[in-house]
């Protein structure tokens, strides 16, 4: 197909002649649907939230500001003007809007939830973690949401399946292959094309750095890569699997990683961004890579001519440099259940929700008779890549896992890391907290009755 096929507020639309990298938000507003607002153009405030339903999937709230319209190919997009949901009346009744500029996004975040979504305070805060309001202090919004969710009408129809997209407009070629063969073929033809999935990172390169590329290939629509396979031993996460899908797959099984994912961005970003994308973009913090490294994950790199598997920590070579050649793509992650369930995570940031870590620590510590017999410990925010704390791991072996027993490992951290000072934290703070997190992890392991957390369900 050489034009974008989407459904907008119930009406089918065929879109050509606009650059495929035009952000959905800009296109909507150009169509006169100005209810959807631009607050930041980087996916951090939620004012641009729309509800998106794809074939075979439930509705999801997404940030229209960093979503190239080509990624809406095959989707049913609902905007605030057309949403029919009791949250609208509830927000009026509870005085949940003041200036009203964030309100359309909040309406759509709630409207995208299923009627059986939980309405306890924590769940509502999580649901709204991607929507900023500067006026109300959130109280009346939370109250309105608690009232309205269960009365939600049935969501808009899922659109029919559409085929792949290969369009060129305004000098930009954008392909959304539907099969892996198609994808691999496209990449082999255009090894320098920019691969994108949810565009939660590349989208803001475009809006903020005015990033341009001649060719984009989306992996998001590749059916076979959007599933999670579970053989009971290992979880295989395909390249198109979103953070939200991953969260659902580990729910109730891997408490440490689940809590990390709860605080990972907001729902809109988790519904668009992919686990493999968070690896492939090589962020020095990344939040998820340290947890996956500690869990013993391996990454599968593929190309039209073959594939290879390597330990995740070896994928990250240096800042902005990963072990991926032109024409190769991150095909999947393999995560052993044993490691995934054992990992405990410690994310430290200025704000609990939807913030980037100053320090992110993941511990996978095995004890034998109270002493450490194996340790996989990885950090984000401490070096130019997510990185294992090898010296600290070695120093832990044979030690009792207690606040006193981890002292050697804390001392060894200075051999593992020389962190930077930046806007999130100073080098001194990072090193100090990284050490303190060994103490916290040991306490949590040794005496679960001691309160150690302020955020999330773990605090309750």
């Amino acid at each position: 197909m050489n034009a974008i096929q989407l459904r907008l507020n119930g009406k089918d639309r065929r879109i050509d002649g606009v650059a495929p990298t035009t952000m959905l938000l800009d296109w909507l507003r150009g169509e006169g649907l100005t209810g959807t607002k631009e607050g930041c153009a980087e996916g951090d405030c939620g004012a641009c939230t729309v509800a998106v339903r794809r074939h075979g999937k439930p509705a999801a709230a997404l940030n229209a500001c960093i979503m190239p319209i080509a990624l809406a190919h095959g989707a049913h997009v609902t905007t605030v003007e057309a949403a029919d949901h009791p949250i609208k009346g509830a927000l009026v009744e509870y005085h949940g809007s003041q200036c009203g500029f964030c309100t359309p996004g909040i309406v759509m975040t709630i409207a995208a939830l299923p009627a059986d979504a939980p309405t306890d305070r924590c769940s509502l805060e999580d649901a709204l973690a991607g929507n900023l309001c500067r006026c109300t202090g959130y109280g009346p919004i939370l109250a309105a949401a608690a009232d309205a969710i269960s009365a939600a009408p049935s969501p808009p129809d899922a659109p029919p399946e559409v085929g792949s997209l290969d369009m060129t407009a305004n000098g930009v070629r954008f392909r959304c292959p539907a099969t892996e063969d198609e994808f691999a073929q496209a990449l082999a033809e255009s090894p320098d094309a920019r691969i994108i999935a949810g565009a939660t990172d590349v989208g803001l390169w475009m809006t903020k750095h005015l990033y341009e590329a001649a060719e984009f290939i989306s992996i998001a629509g590749v059916g076979c890569l959007s599933s999670i396979e579970d053989d009971g031993e290992t979880l295989t996460i395909g390249a198109a699997v979103t953070h939200a899908d991953f969260m659902a797959a580990i729910h109730g099984k891997a408490p440490g990683v689940s809590e990390l994912m709860r605080r990972f961005a907001g729902p809109q970003v988790r519904a668009a961004g992919t686990v493999c994308g968070n690896i492939a973009n090589g962020s020095p913090i990344g939040d998820l890579p340290p947890a996956l490294i500690a869990a013993g994950a391996t990454v599968e790199i593929a190309s039209a001519t073959g594939q290879r598997v390597l330990p995740l920590e070896d994928f990250f070579i240096a800042y902005g440099q990963q072990d991926r050649a032109a024409g190769e793509y991150v095909r999947a992650l393999h995560v052993p259940w044993g490691g995934l369930c054992a990992v405990s995570c410690h994310k430290v940031s200025k704000r609990f929700d939807s913030d980037i870590s100053a320090v992110m620590a993941a511990f996978n510590v095995t004890l034998d008779g109270g002493r450490v017999s194996a340790a996989g410990i990885a950090f984000g925010g401490m070096a130019e890549t997510p990185k294992r704390a090898s010296h600290a791991e070695a120093a832990l072996l044979g030690q009792p896992y207690t606040p006193e027993g981890v002292a050697g490992a804390i001392a060894a951290l200075a051999d593992d890391f020389a962190p930077l000072t930046d806007l999130r934290a100073s080098a001194e703070y990072r090193l100090k907290v990284a050490g303190n997190l060994f103490i916290r992890d040991a306490i949590e392991r040794g005496d679960p009755a001691v309160r150690t957390r302020l955020a999330g369900r773990a605090a309750a």
Binding site: G100, Y429, L437
Partner: protein
């Protein structure tokens, strides 16, 4: 769940069940919890903000190119900019027909620093020139295409310490004093001293700066602007264009948040767009990208406060001295008023026998700091609350007891109740509010329980604190305390209301409409609220200083009463009754003989050739201020409130969380309790953001490193205290003749969040003996430093 972490739904319930505002005491529309007039449009996406105004065909887009370094001189050509496809025009300092300056008070801010191939740069982000292009994307790409051919960088003055060392100021220091503070401190039995750094704050209204300018005939230009001060915007646009003010109309229906950030900072987009629109004869829109907005526009002032205090063994303050150092940025902007207000609030709610405040206004090569909710008051208040905290620590006393001992009380002799600027506090009710809150929040029992719990919790520590707020209401620049309104009654009895107030979410439109409806005895639905425009009501003051409803409500009431008096005279004559016997209620005009529907009376009055339109005016009474002597009555009255916050900290990471907040706030006789509760809750959370997670970080070379929500973190839903109980103080009644005895409520609640910072301080104090040095914002890093330092 243990008691530290109450069941999650409790907060939402508590809010609904919190002590209700006083029941309506009138049969009219005032004092009722009417919803925001635009609420139904907010939720459906049909409320029109400036960027939603349909763009006329041919609209061009303007992008500001800004300085790439903090200080120095650059040279270059604009050829590369001009070559970008889609570029229509470039405007720099040489293309301004009027004055190339948009400084609001002092003319010290060039609209465009770049002129004739070079620019002298005073901060990173300073507007250099504007690019106008066929699309916003093209304009942005073109602005980014500018690369100086030569850069002569100078060492920038970035921090307050830099400015003190360099001696750079935006104006002279200023002093206010009562008694001989230095002598009182020297003679006091006990003394404390210290310093505190207080960070700034980015407004982050969800709607950024934006303007759309439409050229008209002759010199005319019509500008839709997201702006808290349309009259000043009009003046600045006229100045830049070199045309009379009557040629410029500024129209503002609503803002997507202001918080002070659009009091002067909206003028850049408006002036640039208007200039381009007139130069090119085309509609021109200028909408800032969020990051550009952060980098270009001013913020809340950072402060460094030095203090010393003398007191007795019982905790009675005998003398306090403050030296307030404010980072004003590269130009004056509103820094004089802001720094003055910080000084006015250096006593907060405390009667201090000898108080001296010295204020230094430092000039730095950073964005020009500007108005932000509280306008310096919050920084001044943080200073004195730190003193009280330090005094209590020194005495080993509960800070609440020390605070209560020093409060202004109505029973004190007038000289005791006289502030350091010579104003007698006549309306002190803070002692009663604090007493009520101590009971309703169960402060004393909770404080004991927290101490006991801390003894058994090695990692998580809790703290609790109560702080009061006394906030002066009025512009301290006396002449600004005036307002106008325009009211039309149409033949069908419908009413059109216009005034100088700007609706930015705070509900000024609905509040003033309630007042207008009551003036005619009409339902609220009979009053049409219309966009604020400089051609309807002239020479208005900014919607700022919490004054919007106070002043515009009175002006609107005045206009309505003018029309009503005409109708009264008409009806008295027609019905042969005394004027006093004519009453307006329930949509009717009542005379002893009959009740006639309002619309019928209006129509009859029209046929009798009676004017049904009037302007209204209000000037705040009683106030005067002698800045030379630093003496007078700058405020009509004070607004009061108090909050108790309970916080928990993680002693391993420095993370903090607000567990519970109890608020009792004085809104006088609230015009609209629902709107006022929203201001109180929202103000608290915004204040907590300022003092906790919102951190502005500049690099040593003067670049703002936190220029987007990815890096600058305002509170999100989970940052609201887990349990929040907010109430309007029931006995509230303004002793002054304000509009329906209400009190201003926009700014004061922000300062209730000082209790959050103090609660964190109390938690830190539970694990260390000497007094902590917790600066603001209390980020995890600062908390950990305060624990370990």
């Amino acid at each position: 769940m243990d008691e530290a972490f109450p069941a999650p739904p409790a907060t939402v319930e508590a809010r609904r069940d919190s002590p209700s505002p006083p029941p309506p005491r009138s049969h009219g529309e005032s004092h009722k919890p009417h919803r925001h007039d635009s609420a139904h449009k907010h939720v459906s996406g049909t409320a029109t903000y400036t960027d939603d105004v349909p763009e006329p065909p041919g609209t061009l887009h303007l992008q500001i190119a800004y300085a790439p370094l903090a200080r120095g001189r650059i040279e270059g050509t604009l050829a590369a900019v001009r070559a970008v496809p889609g570029v229509v025009a470039i405007l720099d300092g040489t293309t301004v027909p009027g004055e190339n300056n948009i400084g609001p008070v002092r003319h010290d801010e060039p609209l465009f620093a770049f002129a004739g191939g070079s620019a002298q740069i005073e901060y990173h982000g300073q507007p250099l020139f504007a690019v106008v292009a066929t699309t916003r994307d093209a304009a942005r790409r073109a602005a980014h295409a500018f690369k100086p051919s030569a850069t002569h960088a100078q060492t920038p003055v970035i921090t307050i310490a830099d400015a003190i060392a360099a001696g750079t100021t935006v104006e002279e220091p200023y002093r206010m004093a009562k008694g001989d503070a230095a002598a009182a401190i020297a003679a006091a039995p006990r003394r404390v001293s210290g310093t505190m750094d207080i960070g700034g704050q980015e407004h982050f209204s969800l709607e950024g700066n934006v303007a759309l300018a439409l050229p008209g005939e002759d010199d005319d230009v019509h500008v839709y602007s997201s702006n808290q001060h349309p009259s000043e915007c009009q003046e600045v646009v006229a100045r830049v264009l070199g045309v009379p003010a009557h040629a410029v109309t500024i129209e503002v229906r609503r803002l997507g948040g202001g918080f002070g950030g659009k009091e002067t900072q909206g003028n850049l987009a408006a002036a640039a767009a208007a200039l381009a629109a007139k130069a090119l004869g085309k509609p021109v829109k200028c909408r800032f990208d969020r990051d550009d907005d952060f980098i270009i526009s001013g913020k809340r002032h950072e402060f460094l406060i030095e203090y010393e205090a003398g007191f007795d063994e019982a905790g009675t303050l005998l003398g306090v001295r403050f030296v307030q150092h404010a980072r004003c940025g590269w130009s004056l902007d509103l820094s004089r008023g802001i720094c003055d207000r910080a000084m006015f609030h250096a006593d907060n709610a405390y009667a201090i026998p000898a108080l001296e405040v010295i204020s230094h206004r430092w000039r730095t090569n950073t964005c020009s700091n500007t108005a932000f909710r509280g306008f310096g008051g919050p920084q001044g208040m943080v200073g004195i609350e730190r003193v009280l905290e330090h005094v209590a620590h020194d005495l080993g006393a509960d800070p609440l007891a020390v605070r209560q001992r020093n409060l202004y009380r109505p029973s004190q002799p007038a000289r005791v109740r006289t502030t350091h600027y010579g104003m007698v506090v006549e309306d002190a009710v803070i002692d009663r509010i604090v007493d009520d809150l101590v009971v309703s929040s169960d402060y004393l029992a909770r404080r004991e329980a927290i101490a006991a719990d801390n003894a058994t919790s090695p990692i998580i520590k809790r703290g609790i604190a109560l702080t009061p707020v006394k906030f002066g209401i009025s512009f301290t620049t006396t002449f600004l305390n005036q307002a106008g309104a325009l009211v039309h009654v149409y033949k069908d009895g419908s009413v059109m209301l216009n005034h100088g107030g700007i609706e930015m979410g705070q509900g000024v439109y609905v509040k003033v409409a309630q007042v207008a409806a009551d003036a005619f005895g009409l339902p609220l639905s009979a009053v049409k609220i219309t966009a604020t425009r400089t051609d309807k009501v002239p020479n208005t003051s900014a919607t700022a200083a919490s004054s919007g409803a106070d002043m515009n409500g009175m002006a609107a009431q005045n206009a309505c009463e003018t029309i009503r008096d005409r109708l009264v005279a008409f009806m008295a004559k027609r019905e042969g009754c005394a004027a006093e016997a004519v009453a307006f209620a329930d949509g009717h005009v009542h005379t002893p003989g009959k009740s006639v529907p309002f619309a019928e009376v209006v129509h009859a009055a029209y046929l009798a050739r009676i004017s049904l339109s009037a302007s209204g005016y209000y000037a705040t009474p009683k106030i005067h201020w002698d800045r030379e002597r630093a003496h007078g009555r700058p405020f009509y009255y004070f607004a009061y409130g108090a909050a108790v916050t309970e916080a928990a900290i993680d002693t391993l990471t420095g993370e903090a969380r607000l567990l519970r907040a109890d608020i009792l706030h004085d809104a006088g006789r609230s015009l609209n309790p629902a709107v006022d509760l929203g201001q109180i809750e929202g103000g608290y959370v915004q204040g907590a953001g300022w003092l906790m997670c919102e951190e502005l970080v500049w690099s040593p070379d003067g670049r703002l490193a936190t220029h987007a929500p990815a890096t600058y973190k305002i509170p999100c839903a989970s940052d609201r205290p887990m349990d929040m109980r907010v109430a309007i103080w029931g006995p509230g009644q303004n002793r002054e003749l304000t509009v329906k005895r209400s009190k201003a409520v926009g700014e004061p609640p922000l300062m209730l969040a000082i209790s959050a910072h103090q609660a964190i301080g109390a938690a830190i104090a539970s694990v260390r003996n000497d007094f902590h040095q917790l600066d603001a914002p209390a980020t995890p890093e600062r908390i950990l430093a305060a624990l370990d330092g």
